[in-house]
Each structure stands twice: as C-alpha cells, then as structure tokens.
C-alpha cells in the first residue's frame, strides 16, 4: 500500500507541520521542561498512585484534554496529529500519568454514536473535569475485540480485564466487551458495585496498570466496533509517537555522553565504533517520525489507510524505541546501568510501549491481513 501522492492524482503539497502545530509543540515542550524534570518524574513514579494531579491539571490547562474534542462538544476540534505531537513530547520527557488511556477513551467517545452519554462525557473530558480510561486487554494476551470474552447482558457487564491504565484514578472506564449484537464499548462509573480493581506492579512505573473484575456491573453503551477500532488506532498512533519521542531522547543522551565522556585520553565520540552505532540509530530514527505523522494524518483524513498504518507505525517505532534505549544504555557504559541515572526511565517506557495493545509481530500480522496478502 503506497502512500497517496504518487501516480494517483494526489500530491505532495505539504508533508510538514503548520505554524500552529509548531507553536503547540513548543508550548508543551516548555511546560514540560519547566514542570516535569526527571526529579518530578521520579517522585511521581515512586508515589502510591503514580498520578500527579497538579501536573495533569497543567496539561489540561494547555488544552490537551480538549484538543481533539469537536467544538460542538466544547472542545477545540483540532486534528488528531496535534494530539500525536503532544504524545511525542510526553514520551520525550517520560511524563508519568494517565494521558494514554484518557486520550483513547476520549477518541472512542468522539467516534461513538450520538447520545446523551456522549454529550455529557465529552464536555467533561474537554473541560478537564473528568478522567477516563479504557479496558481493552483480557487474560491470555487477548487484544483483538473479535476474541473478547467479557459480556454485557441486560445492561450488566461481567468479565475480567487486565492492563487497564490508571483504573483507580479514573471517573469512567470504557470497557471492550460483547453483547448479542457483537463486540462493542460500554462505560462503567468509578466505584460501581461489582467492580473490583487490583493494582499490578509494572515495569514502567510512569504508566500504572490494574486488573479489573466485573460481576454484573451496571454499564451504559458507548458504541460499536467503529468506536472501539478508533480507540485502538488512536492508542497505537499515540504509542508510536511516544516511542519516537522517547527513542529520540535516548539518542540525544547517548550523543551528549559521547561528546563528554573521556577514555584513552579522548572523548569516546572520536571512536568509529561509537560513531557508527550512533549513526545507524540516527539513520533509522530520523525518517521514522514520518511514519507516525502519516498514521496520525490518515487517522482522520485518509480513513482507508488509518488502521493499517496505525498498526505498522506502532510495531516499527516501539521496536526502534527498544533498540534506542538499549543501544543508548550500552553506549553509556556502567553509569547507564545504575538506578540513579535516568536512562532506565525511558528503557522501561519502551517495554510498556512494545507490549501494550499487542506485540509487534501480532500487529505486523494485522498489517499483512489489511494489505490483503
């Protein structure tokens, strides 16, 4: 599936960011530089909830929650690419917190059938008054909604979910389940009777996950397959963007270290072995940004390419993140292997990014299916 723009009458008018987007990225970057140094990342990740209300409120004030909510629902009606650009910045700064699940739930609602529920939720999400998350995975590494076992009967949800981001902090959980009509998405209120949450110890302490057990929990229908597919694809693209931001940060740290660390009487960046390891990483990383840009652009502009490019971008970029984090650690030598040095914050985020919403081989399998191979 080749990109539009060659031989099709479409063209390469502008494969770049608008001035508004550049400004948005700068604003978020500056906010994070001022408010989320790694010392704060560490204190949040060592806290009980892993969620910093002040940091979150600051992001909401910048409009992060309202960005992709249509104006008719009280939002800013921006492109999905804008949100992906923010995800890159959050990945770059290793920002702890519930952004991913919240954004996925928001987009599920944006693409849900019209309802009172949609109206009520979206305006609260846009205003930053409510926090939402999504429950996709089921035990047995089930990510595919076609294989989901949780069921809804007479407005009551039963089943088991795992790897639910920030379930305890959320006001609403959007749960992938099925009823007589097939797979769909249902909303459960925090603290609903019959819901039992359990905190899981994760490798990435900047993105907390919990398991959720539902026994006939009252729920409300959000939407069908379209809505949950949009939720999934949003998550894939946001993870791809976060991976790019994190991988780039790992490369930057390795580059800075290579220019500063001296051995054998010279900076280690003078050695070709080091140069080539850095060059290989930079050469693969630099063009990969365009993969998430295109996937984000396709998400709302070229829907026939959306699902495939979301899967492909997440698989590729999260794999590259793993490599960047590990190469960077290796290039740092002993210091990189210490808890005190910050690099493992990104290394651990790469673990989450690779596994959440399905491993890379699984996603490449989906991309192959979607190509009609």
């Amino acid at each position: 599936m080749r990109p539009r723009g060659r031989d099709t009458g479409w063209g390469i008018m502008d494969f770049g960011l608008s001035q508004e987007q550049v400004l948005l990225v700068d604003t978020v970057r500056r906010y994070l530089a001022d408010n989320c140094p790694t010392s704060r990342v560490r204190s949040v990740m060592e806290s009980e909830t892993g969620h910093d209300g002040g940091l979150w409120a600051g992001l909401m004030e910048l409009g992060v929650g309202a960005l992709v909510v249509p104006e008719s629902y009280g939002g800013l009606g921006a492109e999905f690419l804008d949100l992906a650009l923010i995800s890159e910045q959050l990945g770059s700064a290793a920002v702890p917190g519930p952004f991913l699940g919240h954004a996925m739930a928001t987009l599920a609602l944006v693409y849900a059938e019209d309802s009172e529920l949609k109206k009520e939720c979206l305006s609260a999400l846009a205003g930053g008054e409510a926090l939402a998350t999504c429950a996709v995975a089921e035990p047995g590494d089930v990510w595919d909604h076609a294989a989901v076992a949780s069921t809804v009967k007479d407005g009551k949800l039963s089943g088991r979910k795992t790897l639910v981001p920030y379930a305890s902090a959320a006001d609403w959980l959007l749960v992938v389940a099925r009823d007589g009509d097939g797979p769909g998405l249902w909303l459960v209120d925090a603290g609903a009777a019959g819901m039992e949450l359990r905190t899981l110890r994760g490798n990435d302490m900047t993105r907390r996950v919990e398991s959720a057990e539902f026994s006939a929990v009252v729920c409300r229908r959000v939407g069908g397959v379209e809505s949950l597919a949009k939720m999934r694809d949003a998550g894939l693209v946001l993870l791809a963007a976060d991976s790019f931001g994190g991988a780039q940060r790992c490369l930057d740290m390795a580059r800075d270290y290579a220019l500063q660390r001296q051995q054998f009487g010279q900076v280690i960046g003078m050695f070709q072995a080091v140069k080539h390891q850095l060059a290989n990483l930079a050469a693969e990383l630099e063009p990969s940004m365009s993969l998430y840009w295109y996937a984000a652009h396709a998400y709302d502009r070229i829907p026939e390419d959306g699902p495939r490019h979301a899967a492909l971008a997440k698989a590729y970029l999260s794999d590259l993140y793993d490599r960047a984090a590990r190469d960077s650690t290796e290039l740092h030598g002993g210091i990189g292997f210490t808890w005190e040095f910050d690099l493992h914050l990104w290394f651990r985020r790469s673990i989450f990014n690779r596994s959440y919403l399905g491993d890379s081989d699984y996603l490449r399998g989906r991309a192959a299916d979607l190509a009609g191979w």
């Binding site: 080749r2 990109p3 539009r4 723009g5 060659r6 031989d7 479409w10 063209g11 390469i12 008018m13 502008d14 494969f15 770049g16 960011l17 608008s18 690419l81 580059r255 290579a258 220019l259 010279q266 900076v267 960046g269 003078m270 070709q272 080091v274 140069k275 080539h276 850095l278 060059a279 290989n280 930079a282 050469a283 693969e284 630099e286 063009p287 990969s288 940004m289 365009s290 993969l291 840009w293 295109y294 652009h297 502009r301 070229i302 490019h309 492909l312 971008a313 698989a315 590729y316 081989d361 490449r364 399998g365 991309a367 192959a368 190509a371 191979w373």
Partner: protein
C-alpha cells in the same frame, strides 16, 4: 499537513499534460518509451528523443536549474514542480534528463568553475547526450580515501602529460570525454596537489580495459594513461584546486533526494512473486514468517517514502534539512541490500537459478537486484563512510584525525 497540490500546481500539471500529449505521442511511447537505465551503461539517444528533449527544455521542463544561455530550462527552484514533472514524465514514459555523470556532475562543475569557452563547448551537447562522459576519480590505491590519488599530470610546454591508472570507471568504453582528478603538484599536501582536467578519450596513449563485476556484467573499466598529451587549457579551475572544484558541485546537486522508486518497484514485485510462488502446496505469501518480514521491510520503505516527502516540503519552505538530508543514502542502500536478501528467501530453491534462466522465478530478475545491491552499498562512498558523515556532520561527533592527513 495536506497531501494535495494546490490549484496553482494542478494548473501547472494541466499545462504539462497538454505539452506531453502534443510532443510525446502514443507511438513514441510504444516504440521509444521505457524504464530508464539507472545502473549500467549509457548510450547516445536517437534523433526523435533528442528532438523531444529540446522541446521539453524550451518549455522549461528539463534541466530547470541550468541557465537557458547554456542550453538548460532556466527555471526558478521549485521542488514541487520538479516532483510533478517527474510524476508526469514517468506516467507517459517520456524521456527525462539524461542519466550519467556528465549531466549530473560535470555540467554543474563547469557552470561553477568553467571558462566561457568550456561552457559553450560542452554543456549543451552534454545535456542532450551528444557528448558522453566518464568520471576518472577512483584508482586502485584511492577508494574511500580519494584524495590520495596518484595518477599524475605534468606540464610540458603547452601540454599536460598524463600517466597513471583509473579504475571503476563506468561507461569508459562509450564515453567521448573523461573528467578526471590528477596529481599535478606532487610536493603539495594531498588535497592541494590535485587538478581537475577534461580529457578527450580518443587521445593516443589511453587504453580502456573493461572488467567483469560480481554480477557478471562488464559495466566498469580500468583506464590506463601512457604519456597522454592534452592541451594546457584542459583544466577546470586553477592548478592544484581540483579537490575544491570537484567538491563544489555538491551545492548544485539536483533536487533528487534519496530516490525510493527502485526500492518500491523491487518491493511490489517481490509481493507479487510471493503471491504467485508456491511452497509446500501454499502460496509463499501465506507463510507467517515471510509476511512478518515483508511488513518489516515495507515499514522501512514507507518511512523512506514519507521522509522524502518531508524533505521535499522542507526544500519548498526553504528549511535546512541537516541530519534529515544525510540519512537517505545510507538507508536506501541498506534497504536494497535487505530487499534483495528477502527476495532470495521468497524464491527458496529457485533462488539458486541464474538471471535469464527460464525456470528461475521472475526470470531471475531479483537475483540481479540481490547481486547489484552490494555494488550500490559501495558506489559513491561506502556505507561506513556514510556513517562517518552522519556521525560527524549530522550528530556533531569530532572528526577523525586520520582524515586530515
């Protein structure tokens, strides 16, 4: 981000299509149109092709960055228009600019450093393929370290006397002229003792010996110089400034950024082949390992394609590409290397059959691609040299002290 052309560019496309309809007929397309030869030998075009090129230059569609005075299209820099021209010419298989080192390198060297007489004599005919060129750079002892070259030129009265050997010379047998780097100041430091020279290949004392490469073709030659005498005014730029003269063409290099077309053709062809071939009773494309590998390769290909769109946008906006502009060469050579290997694996046992063997899958064309991918890795600077460039100029690593010697 907007992946459509604006009205202005669509109008340009419309005018271009009308031009092509009028000047490149269906009959031309059927009898003369074809895939451009990107690697391998060049040859002189026929009269009909030259006639078309002259019309296309006149209309400003070809050689846009060469002034009209010297036979070019003389148009302001506009990478989007260039991209549309490439698309439209490709669509009707109309002849584009001549390939080869004459039009892509020598012309820009002459524009920057040539005398009026050299420009008058060579540029127009080079653009039209009436003069074919070869490049005399590499020597047996001077590859990546090109500036260590030893073939020498000594001034004797009003003639230069040339002795030595060049190698890896493409199209030496077909070329009318060679542009060469020769050592003219033996006592100067290595970069400052080189002169850029134009040599008529029919001069007595030149011997061209083609040799076979690992693909089995004889596209390259060794060229020997035995007391070859050329006029004193054969040099471009000043004596001893040949290194700088040869480097300066970089800034004139055309808007060709890491062309991904060949990789795309190879990839699409490989998918077609994987659908058509069977292994153990099932189409190869249904093998999960092959599918996985194809998507991995496609991801890299798509990244390269989108990246070249991004670079084009940066050019159009007048932004400096920096690191982004340094990576396509390394990536495209690595990608063709890996695509070649994957194609061999798709073929399985059939991969052991030689190109041209009727029983070979796809007539063995992917075997040729596989073998050539090694040449591509080396040509124009080995992959390891590219890595040095990316690390030093792109990432700011200190320069290797060895390179300065």
């Amino acid at each position: 981000m907007d992946l459509r052309y604006s009205a202005e560019y669509e109008q340009f496309r419309g005018e271009l299509r009308a031009f092509l309809d009028k000047n490149w007929t269906d009959e031309d397309r059927a009898t003369l149109g074809g895939e451009e030869v990107l690697i391998g030998s060049i040859s002189k075009p026929g009269e009909r092709v030259t006639e078309f090129r002259i019309a296309a230059i006149e209309a400003g569609y070809l050689y846009r960055n060469v002034p009209r005075r010297w036979g070019g299209g003389g148009q302001p820099f506009d990478p989007l228009k260039s991209a549309i021209i490439r698309e439209e010419f490709k669509r009707v298989r109309a002849p584009r600019e001549m390939v080869g080192q004459g039009p892509s390198m020598l012309v820009f060297t002459l524009l920057a450093h040539g005398t009026e007489e050299q420009k008058e004599r060579f540029i127009r005919d080079t653009l039209l393929g009436r003069i074919l060129w070869c490049q005399g750079y590499s020597e047996p002892g001077a590859g990546s370290d090109l500036a260590s070259l030893r073939s020498k030129a000594e001034l004797d009265g009003d003639q230069w006397v040339i002795n030595g050997q060049k190698t890896w010379t493409s199209n030496a047998a077909e070329a009318d002229w060679m542009f060469a780097l020769l050592r003219s100041e033996p006592d100067a430091p290595k970069h400052e003792g080189i002169t850029y020279m134009l040599i008529d290949m029919s001069t007595p004392g030149i011997e061209v010996r083609p040799f076979r490469n690992i693909v089995g073709d004889s596209d390259f030659s060794e060229v020997f110089f035995d007391n070859v005498r050329v006029p004193k005014d054969s040099i471009v730029g000043a004596r001893g400034e040949g290194w700088k003269v040869s480097r300066s063409t970089l800034k004139y290099e055309r808007a060709l950024i890491g062309d991904t077309d060949i990789a795309r053709r190879t990839f699409d062809g490989m998918v077609m082949m994987a659908r058509a071939l069977e292994r153990r009773g099932k189409p190869v494309i249904e093998d999960p390992v092959i599918r996985n590998r194809l998507v991995q390769l496609e991801s890299r290909l798509l990244a390269a394609e989108f990246h070249s769109m991004r670079l084009l946008t940066m050019q159009a906006r007048g932004e400096e590409a920096l690191l982004a502009g340094m990576v396509p060469k390394l990536n495209s050579t690595q990608l063709s290397y890996d695509l070649g290997k994957a194609a061999m694996d798709v073929m399985g046992g059939g991969g052991s059959l030689a190109p041209g063997e009727p029983e070979a899958p796809a007539m063995g064309m992917f075997v040729t691609a596989y073998l050539w991918s090694l040449g591509v890795l080396i040509a124009g600077g080995t992959a390891n040299i590219q890595r040095n460039i990316i690390a030093e100029r792109g990432l700011g690593m200190p320069r290797d002290p060895v390179q300065k010697r």
